[in-house]
Amino acid sequence: MSEPFVRVENLKQHFPITRGVVFSKQVGAIKAVDDVSFEIYPGETLGLVGESGCGKSTTGRSILRLYEPTDGRVTIDGTEVTALDDEALRAFRPRMQMVFQDSYSSLNPRHSVAKIISEPLVIQGTRDQRKLRDRVAELLELVGLEADHMRRFPHEFSGGQRQRIGIARALSLNPQFIVCDEPISALDVSIQAQVVNLLKSLQRELGLTYLFIAHDLSMVRHISDRVAVMYLGKLAEFGRYDRIFSRPLHPYTQSLMSAVPIPVPEVEKKRQQILLSGDVPSPAKPPPGCVFHTRCPFAAERCRAEVPQQEEVEPDHFVACHMVNDPTVGPQITQRAGHIVEEVKAASGTGPDRQFTPARDVGNR
């Protein structure tokens, strides 16, 4: 395989908790991202999945240095992003872009679509009005909108259309790497598919590399080449999507996969879900050792004391769990993985008997 395009090493993002009356002092830290490492290869999609508060969005922002990482190293296409000074960082920004979750707030309500999409170009030095207009028109058509939409304002569009505008803006500088921060979670199901298909076809056409952040495991499976499962600021499991989905080994990944309802009633009603007990601990006071041990049925003494490291259990499949290779508990975990996958696979033989004509264009014309 080629060299990784994006390399994240020991990334930490801690937000200080301050308290004080007149002068504030730091009394603790929210460990939103705590020692996370992974790579993304050129042209592929890494799906970063986890529940709310697990630090997945923060990871995306730290990689792009929208937050200043507390520690760690991020390298994109050979450039160490974390080492760039302000000026160099601004010059580098065109190569890494972001599509935001909330398309309503991420577009300035006072600006026309033309201004929004051309702003990156203007910042990077294009002044020729005609060139700008042509580029905006081209981008709008690329994302399935019409060129004359450029005179309108964000509030005149629906959620899915606004998300397309956000994508057009991200694309305007021909970036190679895009962080998609839950770009579809605020959209209706039928619109989600439009946006995901658009992202996929753009990736094919333009050779983009994606970090796709989501909480929807099925969507991550659908779009990703590799998957990283995050829990409480740490990576639980990481690897090629088919490896993870055919053999989820981290107990957290297992419970996540088991909890996703499958839209096939016969299967879903017979499923025996793994129910996690309790709630996610606060990231301000993460448990010692393995952060998942408070909710893990396999937790042993070691898990309470020692932080598990990523281990390669098979090629391209890493798990951070002490118990996976434990001689007694390990087989139980593997067996449970098999059971979960079997249940899910039972659904693959069935499906709706009708087919809906897939729209062939990326847009919605």
């Binding site: 929208l66 601004r90 935001f100 909330d102 991420s106 300035n108 990156p120 019409e146 569009f157 956000g166």
Partner: protein
């Protein structure tokens, strides 16, 4: 095609200004406020053409004449005369010049100060923010009217001083509001996305933060201008505003107070002028708040 455009916007007007006007015409109270406000402003600007007499012209033969519709009144002096026989209507029209000047420049000064300091505090945060806000909060801790009276007594009576007093004492309020808004906008998605495309500080301030400050600033400015007109009259009433010879609503009120038992109109009309001006600006301000506050409008739609 049109079916794909969000149906929530009924106006179909594209520009921001067009939408704003559309909303103004739909709100009768706001439009009425605008009319009242324009009425006062125009009469102040064109005072020499509108006023029937000179505001300083004395006529001791017809002193303290009641309004025209009262017994002993005369349409020569529609609102009557004061104890020196000066025409009340003309003095009120000229008096609006003082009020509006104080209101306008007072707001201009305090808003400029507030914008600069508030933007610095909100954008830089940290220690600078702490110092600026500590000072602003000190000023805000002293009851406002008391502060104004004390400062006015110290500085002495002149139009410039009055403007300065309001401009300076009101600045902390603008600082606080600006800072809060800048803080909010700085955390907003569109500023974050501007950072992500490589926008520098100047661009973010100039293209994203300041334009989005206009709405709240204009709204607050309207209310504060109305407040300053109020308080200027109050200072005049205590004899602390513009020099006694200048026709101003506050001076007229202070003057009329001495004759309150026998010639109540001397105090009533300048006060009514204040009420009308203030009403217009408050209606306008309410309307502006409804239209310019994106948070409110989003929930309404």
């Amino acid at each position: 095609m049109s079916s794909r455009i969000n149906a929530l916007d009924p106006s179909q007007t594209r520009s921001w200004l067009g939408r704003t006007l559309h909303y103004l015409l739909r709100d009768k109270a706001g439009a009425f406020g605008l009319v009242l406000f324009l009425f006062v402003v125009l009469s102040a600007v064109f005072a020499p053409y509108v006023a029937p007499h000179s505001p300083l012209q004395q006529d001791l033969h017809s002193s303290r004449m009641p309004p025209a519709w009262h017994e002993g009144g005369d349409w020569e002096h529609p609102l009557g005369t004061d104890n020196l026989g000066r025409d009340m209507l003309s003095r009120i029209i000229y008096g609006s010049r003082v009020s509006l000047t104080v209101g306008f420049f007072g707001v201009l000064i305090s808003m400029s100060l507030g914008l600069v300091l508030g933007a610095i505090a909100g954008y830089l945060g940290g220690r600078v923010d702490a110092v600026i806000m500590a000072i602003a909060n000190l000023f805000l801790a002293i009851p406002y009217l008391l502060l104004v009276v004390v400062v006015a007594a110290i500085l002495g009576r002149s139009l410039i001083n009055v403007i300065l007093i309001f401009g300076l004492t009101n600045a902390p309020l603008f600082v606080r509001i600006t800072r809060g808004e800048v803080f909010r906008i700085r955390k907003s998605g569109y500023v974050e996305s501007a950072v992500s495309i490589g926008a520098g500080r100047a661009r973010i301030l100039g293209h994203h933060i300041l334009p989005n400050l206009i709405g709240p600033m204009v709204t607050v400015a309207t209310f504060e201008m109305s407040g300053m007109i109020f308080y200027e009259a109050g200072l005049g009433f205590l004899g602390l505003s513009v020099p006694p010879g200048v026709p101003s609503w506050g001076n007229m009120l202070a003057h009329g107070r001495q004759y309150i038992t026998f010639s109540p109109w001397l105090a009533a009309f300048p006060g009514l002028a204040i009420v009308v001006t203030s009403l217009g600006m408050n209606l306008l301000g309410d309307w502006l708040r409804d239209v310019l506050d994106p948070k409110l409008r989003r929930t309404a739609s």
